[in-house]
């Protein structure tokens, strides 16, 4: 049983402590954001173009594509779609994002969409059963699809 003095201290702490934790955590994060433009919590950023494309980050795709290779596969975290990070080209990551606008953007910024790449992308879209990206890619090639010998990169 708590004595009166300890109860007073613990009760006050129970009311205040969560607020203090939030204040310290978000306050430190805010200071970092003000000083370094880099919040410490809840603000992750893509490490590469594939990660940006896989996570619907159209703005980062635009910014990064000015200086990055749009054909190079890179290790990408896409937590909404993949349990583990995978090595993907930006176009593959765009298909995995299940957003047709992202495929279009990566293409517009210089992503190569040859016959082999297109087949791989179509197979990824089929594997994910995403109707939006399947329909978008069918604009380029609507022929029957064989995916037996295509390696799905995740």
């Amino acid at each position: 049983m708590l004595d009166a003095r300890r109860f007073r201290v613990l009760l006050t702490a129970a009311v205040a402590a969560p607020g203090v934790v939030v204040a310290l955590t978000t306050g430190a994060s805010g200071l970092s954001a003000w000083l370094l433009d880099r919040p410490l919590v809840l603000a992750p950023v893509p490490r590469n173009l594939s990660e940006a494309a896989g996570n619907r980050d159209v703005a980062d795709v635009v910014v990064m594509s000015a200086a990055a290779d749009l054909i190079q596969p890179e290790l990408a975290r896409i937590p909404l779609r993949l349990r583990e990070p995978a090595t993907l080209t930006p176009l593959e990551a765009a298909v995995i994002s299940e957003r047709a606008y992202m495929i279009r953007l990566v293409r517009d910024r210089g992503g190569r969409l040859g016959a082999d790449e297109l087949r791989t992308l179509r197979c990824i879209a089929e594997a994910r059963k995403d109707r939006g990206t399947i329909a978008y890619l069918a604009q380029f090639d609507a022929s029957a699809l064989k995916c037996d010998d295509v390696r799905i990169p995740y």
Binding site: F7, A16, P79
Partner: protein
């Protein structure tokens, strides 16, 4: 001692940390395309502040908001004078305003002892964790006027608490004029002043209240006989009804002949959204069919914390004040909260919107502060020894649940930055028609460039259940 660690100092440190956190996240959000670019380009073409004000008088048949144009024009002038740094000026203004609101909140709360400082920590979680607070921070049009209205209301209350005098009266009247010409919601500043007076505060004199009443009458004359403005009618904007969000055509079809039913429902729901955290914009989202992507834990946390906190508020309001036995609900802050809730709810009769209730949410948090402070004092003296452990654990649980909601604001602000930045690609050619025709887009290229190079963040890189626990997919 190097630092005098008093409750008052601790309260201000906590306040500063919350202010830094919220303002920093707001500052990182780029100016949006929607609701901003068109306004900025339009106001920038006005040759002067006076012309911008005049344009604002005739901008709409239902909305009298000329101070929006004035504020935008003044900030644009500052931006031009500082090398066209639009985001720095507009987002800097928004961030400073949010910090000012948080500081004013503590200034009015004035915790003097450790119970008060602890209650302030809790109240800060309620203030920033309420869903209506997000509406004051996440978006801007390109200035967030709902945030300004909340500041005007708090400032009016602070003046009412002051010693008063001619300057206080003039400033209070000016606040009312500016607020009422900024948004229709600004009329509640008069409600705050009146409630404070009725509760016994004399910082705003009776003469000033009469002057405000005359200004309110002038406002009506300006709106109706002079500018021939009308109120909102059914179907002008979408709003929630039951568990649905109805489109404008659905609203007209369903309520065209009995608008009173929709108005009554919307007023009631707007009133309830603060104490219950439901419905949101008139829609009882928590009672819609469960979406497997949005587990009920989010709604349980939101509604559960609000129900418990509102129960404490009701308990507090029904208590008697020690000196004269008067019920607490007749005290200044509670009466102002009631005035704000009623006034804001009535003003949102035609469509429910969380932002309209946001200033009332600030006063709700203020009353939560008072209620929790009193609850702590009562529990310390009256809790049975056998129940003390349970009481501590229960309060820690509720406080932690509110902390989760307050962290949700940070998540939403980062997400707001991500979405605002993405808009600059997806709501521009080749994905969408431009918000302003290229020939008229004097500011747009610079705004686009600024948006691309600020506020980098991607909430989709977080562990997905985070978002769902904060009610987003």
């Amino acid at each position: 001692m190097f630092f005098d660690w008093t409750p008052r100092a601790a309260a201000w440190i906590i306040t500063a940390l919350f202010a830094i956190a919220v303002s920093a996240s707001i500052f990182r959000i780029p100016i949006q395309v929607s609701d901003s670019v068109e306004i900025l380009e339009g106001v920038d073409r006005a040759p002067s502040v006076a012309v911008a004000f005049a344009q604002g008088l005739h901008a709409s048949k239902t909305m009298l908001r000329p101070m929006r144009q004035v504020g935008t024009r003044l900030l644009l002038d500052i931006a031009h004078a500082t090398g066209d740094r639009y985001n720095l000026v507009f987002r800097g203004f928004h961030a400073v305003a949010a910090a000012l609101l948080i500081a004013l909140f503590t200034q009015i709360a004035r915790p003097r002892d450790w119970s008060g400082a602890a209650a302030l920590c809790f109240a800060m979680l309620v203030l920033t964790g309420l869903h209506t607070f997000g509406g004051m921070t996440r978006e801007a049009y390109p200035i967030n006027h709902f945030l300004l209205i909340a500041i005007y209301c708090l400032a009016a209350f602070a003046i009412a608490e002051s010693r008063g005098g001619l300057v206080a009266d003039v400033v209070a009247c000016l606040l009312f004029v500016i607020a009422s010409l900024t948004l229709e919601s600004g009329l509640v500043v008069f409600g705050v002043a009146l409630a404070a007076y009725l509760a016994g505060l004399r910082g705003i004199s009776r003469g000033a209240l009469i002057a405000m009443a005359i200004v309110a009458a002038g406002y009506v004359i300006l709106r109706v006989p002079l500018l021939h403005m009308t109120g909102n009618v059914v179907g002008e904007r979408q709003t929630g009804y039951g568990t649905e969000m109805l489109t404008t055509s659905e609203l007209r079809a369903r309520f065209g002949d009995m608008s009173w039913l929709l108005y009554g429902y919307t007023i009631l729901c707007s009133f309830l959204t603060i104490p219950l955290s439901q419905p949101v914009a008139g829609q009882w989202t928590a009672f819609a069919a469960w979406d497997p992507q949005a587990p009920p834990l989010f709604f349980l946390n939101d509604m559960g914390t609000s129900l418990v906190t509102t129960a404490v508020v009701v308990w507090y309001l029904s208590r008697r004040r020690p000196p004269d036995g008067r019920r607490r609900w007749r005290d200044p802050a509670p009466l102002a909260m009631i005035a704000m809730l009623l006034g804001s709810a009535v003003l949102s009769y035609a469509y429910a919107k969380s932002e309209i209730m946001s200033a009332a949410g600030v006063f709700y948090a203020l009353v939560v502060y008072l209620a929790v402070r009193e609850l702590v004092e009562v529990l310390i003296t009256k809790a049975q020894p056998s129940l003390r452990v349970v009481v501590v654990l229960a309060i820690a649980f509720v406080s932690t649940a509110w902390a989760w909601r307050a962290m949700g604001l940070q998540y939403r602000l980062q997400r707001g930055a991500f979405e605002a930045r993405s808009e600059w690609v997806l709501r521009m050619p080749p994905f969408s028609p431009p918000p302003v025709q290229p020939a008229d887009a004097r500011l747009t290229p610079r705004l686009l460039d600024e948006a691309m190079h600020r506020g980098r963040t991607n909430p989709f890189l977080l562990w997905p259940p985070y978002a769902r626990l904060w009610g987003e997919n």
